[in-house]
């Protein structure tokens, strides 16, 4: 039982990170109907920016951990947002009115560019960071196995929850959120009623990149090592999560992220660690057969 509890905690922490990335996919898909393949690499860029910021703060002698975390979080969010904006501006906006596969190809191209840019600029070797957030609580002890809830896991889950609430407020309560939902329903009609569609789409990418930066920072803190390739795997998992929950739905993305995180953790714990990805992907295929639009996705009404 305690083993199970520990895996549950680990799975929720991992799932939160996937969920944060998945929101970026699902928002972009909702608004312009394209798979933003470069999003996983934006997440990777975010974690590299966070690592460099940590090193800068370390050399400046900032030792107060909460302050350092806050600075890194805010600066990394802003800089990664610029990356998200630039990718949209260069690779997707010129193809806005083109056919659907064109932006997908530029997205794959951008993903290759980002990965290799980081590899060239920062080297291919894994980059370690000594633990920043340490300590934790022992929830239960017994049978030689203690269930530990570490501070970093608490941080991950709390950050994710806070961001989810903030995000929900942005989408439901603000003018930007209204504009986004309008563009999602009908872009032409939205622009006729005075919504600046290009700006709204850009801001969607900016928001997605910000969340990806948070996910990148949390990933860095949780695992302590990053390399230029983490974006690909995490990106596929997060996109799977978005599809799982029903693409275009924000709660769906979070739910999908949690489920993927849990499947992966439990499969690694009880069966074999090699096939954890196979388990996650097979689960996706099975779910899609029974819920063709994901768990929380609205059924598509096709109009002729």
């Amino acid at each position: 039982m305690s083993y199970f509890l520990q895996q549950l905690i680990n799975g929720v922490a991992l799932g939160s990170i996937y969920g944060l990335i998945a929101i970026g996919y699902t928002m972009v898909y909702g608004i312009i109907g394209m798979i933003n393949f470069a999003h996983g690499d934006i997440f990777m860029v975010g974690s590299f920016i966070a690592l460099i910021l940590f090193l800068i703060l370390l050399s400046l002698g900032v030792t107060m951990i909460p302050l350092a975390l806050l600075i890194v979080l805010l600066v990394a969010m802003c800089l990664t947002a610029v990356w998200g904006w630039t990718v949209e501006r260069i690779a997707y906006r010129p193809l806005r009115e083109s056919f659907r596969l064109a932006p997908l190809i530029t997205a794959i191209g951008m993903s290759i560019v980002l990965q290799n840019f980081i590899q060239v600029a920062q080297g291919a070797r894994v980059k370690p960071l000594q633990p920043v957030v340490t300590g934790g609580y022992v929830l239960s002890e017994g049978g030689g196995f203690s269930v530990i809830l570490s501070n970093i896991q608490i941080l991950i889950v709390v950050t994710t929850l806070v961001l989810m609430v903030l995000f929900w407020l942005v989408i439901t309560r603000t003018a930007l959120g209204r504009a986004q939902r309008a563009c999602e329903q009908d872009r032409l009609m939205a622009s006729l009623s005075g919504v600046n569609v290009d700006r709204t789409i850009s801001l969607t990418f900016v928001l997605g990149a910000m969340l990806a930066a948070v996910a990148g920072l949390l990933y860095l803190l949780y695992y302590g090592v990053i390399d230029f390739y983490i974006g690909f795997i995490a990106g596929i998992k997060a996109f799977t999560a978005a599809v799982f929950g029903g693409i275009g739905s924000l709660p769906g993305a979070m739910l999908g992220g949690l489920i993927i995180g849990l499947i992966e953790t439990f499969w690694s714990a009880y069966f074999s660690i090699e096939y954890k990805d196979v388990a996650a992907f097979s689960m996706l295929a099975i779910v899609l057969i029974f819920f063709p639009t994901g768990l929380l996705g609205r059924p598509e009404v096709e109009k002729v």
Partner: protein, 517 residues
């Protein structure tokens, strides 16, 4: 000369807006690169330390600033974009005086640059002069013979070249001993043809049926491993295994297709992507059968009607060279491989072209254009999708089987997602559904990628520490983005109608609907 007479914005105003634009561009470049290029993480004994690289950062920002400034002044906001005279080479518009001045001065500058015999100057001058020369040649031919069926001539010449290229170069080399790098040429040609075949195979799924398949490499892997395992465990030969590998891949296509083809486009895309990854992970971890990451080696080469291409036959029988009374040469085997893949690729093309005329092929294209209309007309879309998927998988399997026999060694390394992405990029960049476009895109992508492998000239510019292989994928990705933004509908955008009443006329790109994913 009318464009000059038009009153545009005065130059001062244009300069002002261009400067503003360039400053913003430079600022964004600074934000992008400040941490990632300006600082480098270096491993030290004490842990990671940062090493500042201010000059690199300044250079990068300056490139963006001046690049944007010049582009907006002379191309984006200019009354007469400076690129226009160059673009005219691709059209039949007449050149006016201004075009000739621009082109003439560019040619003159390049010519002078060439005289310096500096490798860096020649690097810029030679491609420019080549472009100008070929462009002028094209314009001259079009001027004197405006009505020739150029597309057909192009295809015929290309095909004849593909057929006679290895034999003619081989005999030239054997007669005159020119020292040509034949081995390298043939290997490259085989690689290009493999990608052309894969492109044509995926074109059935993506280009004709409009289904987005992000895991095509899975079928390639299935074909390769089917042949490799049959050959190493049961000692079967290439020609027996080839159809088996194709059939197994097609079977996998059907097994995968049955549950997921009811899904809408993007769900299908992610499931195919997931399937590709699953296959790769299983190949990697099922060590008892696939030998895991070490791969399968010792895969036999194909034989010519039972005659092996070896110096001495294993069982003491005849070999290809002894049977025909030739001197043994390892190139003979490679030339044979070239013809095998050429035949396989042409077979793929032929089958595709014939299938397009059959009801099933027309159903594919109808489904791509409008699935609902298709269903209303009584076409069973599930079966139609399944046939497209299985046919595409079949050719993927055949190509995979060829890949295994050519390499002699396969491992899961060769079947990563990036392969799927490259094949998909070839199909989309070529112009979905266009057979010729796919072939051109494969040559451009694979050839260009290979050209970047031999980049001694880059080392000459950037010094001996420069490792070009790192930049290869970077340039490859950037080229993918650039080509797509430049020609969103692919290199060959016009379509030939499948069936016509009377004379066949090409369909212009704006009338072709999207290949719906």
């Amino acid at each position: 000369m009318s464009a000059l007479a038009e009153t545009g914005k005065p130059f001062g105003q244009r300069l002002q807006s261009a400067l503003g634009d360039a400053v913003i561009g430079g600022l964004i470049a600074f934000l992008l690169f400040s941490l990632l290029l300006g600082l480098r993480m270096v491993d030290k004994v004490t842990g990671l330390t940062l090493e500042p690289r201010p000059w690199l950062l300044i250079t990068a920002v300056a490139i963006v600033f001046f690049g944007r400034l010049l582009l907006s002044l002379f191309v984006w906001q200019a009354e007469y974009p400076i690129t226009k005279p160059f673009a005219k080479f691709f059209t039949r518009e007449p050149f006016d005086r201004r075009d000739l001045i621009v082109l003439g001065s560019v040619a003159a500058i390049s010519g002078v640059m060439l005289l310096f015999r500096n490798p860096i100057y020649s690097l810029f001058a030679i491609p420019i002069l080549l472009f100008l020369g070929l462009g002028s040649l094209r314009r001259l031919i079009v001027y004197f013979f405006p009505d020739l069926p150029y597309a057909r001539i192009f295809v015929t010449v290309g095909l004849l070249f593909a057929i006679f290229f290895p034999l003619s170069t081989y005999f030239l080399e054997k007669t005159f001993h020119l020292g040509l790098p034949l081995r390298y040429w043939f290997d490259l040609a085989i690689l290009v043809l493999t990608y052309i075949m894969l492109g044509w195979g995926l074109n059935i799924v993506v280009g004709l049926a409009g289904l987005l398949d992000l895991g095509y490499v899975a079928f390639y892997a299935v074909g390769a491993y089917t042949f490799a395992l049959l050959a190493t465990h049961f000692g079967l030969g290439f020609w027996i295994c080839l159809p088996v590998a194709g059939a197994v891949a097609a079977l996998w296509g059907i097994i995968l297709g049955f549950p997921v083809l009811r899904l809408r486009g993007d769900y299908l895309a992610i499931v195919t992507l997931a399937f590709g990854e699953i296959i790769r992970i299983v190949l990697l971890n099922w060590t008892e059968v696939t030998n895991g990451p070490n791969g399968v080696s010792g895969i036999p080469k194909p034989t010519f009607f039972g005659l092996p291409f070896t110096p001495i036959a294993a069982g003491g029988g005849e070999t290809f060279s002894s049977f025909f009374g030739l001197k043994y040469d390892p190139l003979q085997g490679i030339i044979f491989l070239y013809y095998v893949i050429l035949a396989l690729a042409l077979f793929t093309n032929l089958v595709t072209l014939r299938l397009r005329r059959l009801p099933v092929g027309r159903a594919w294209e109808a489904m791509r254009e409008d699935e609902i209309a298709c269903r209303s007309l009584g076409i069973n879309t599930t079966v139609t999708k399944l046939t497209a998927f299985a046919t595409g998988a079949l050719f993927g399997g055949l190509a995979g089987s060829f890949f295994a026999t050519r390499q002699g060694f396969i491992s899961p390394e060769s079947f990563t997602f990036i392969e799927s992405a490259i094949i998909l990029a070839i199909v989309v960049l070529g112009g979905m559904g266009s057979q010729l476009g796919v072939a051109i895109a494969a040559i451009v992508m694979v050839g260009g990628f290979e050209a970047l492998r031999h980049t001694d000239w880059l080392e000459e510019i950037f010094g001996p520490d420069f490792d070009p292989s790192l930049y290869r994928m970077l340039l490859f990705g950037a080229a993918m983005v650039a080509i797509m933004v430049w020609r969103p509908r692919g290199l060959v955008a016009a379509r030939d109608p499948t069936i016509t009443l009377g004379e066949a006329r090409a369909i212009p790109p704006d009338l072709v609907k999207e290949g719906r994913a």
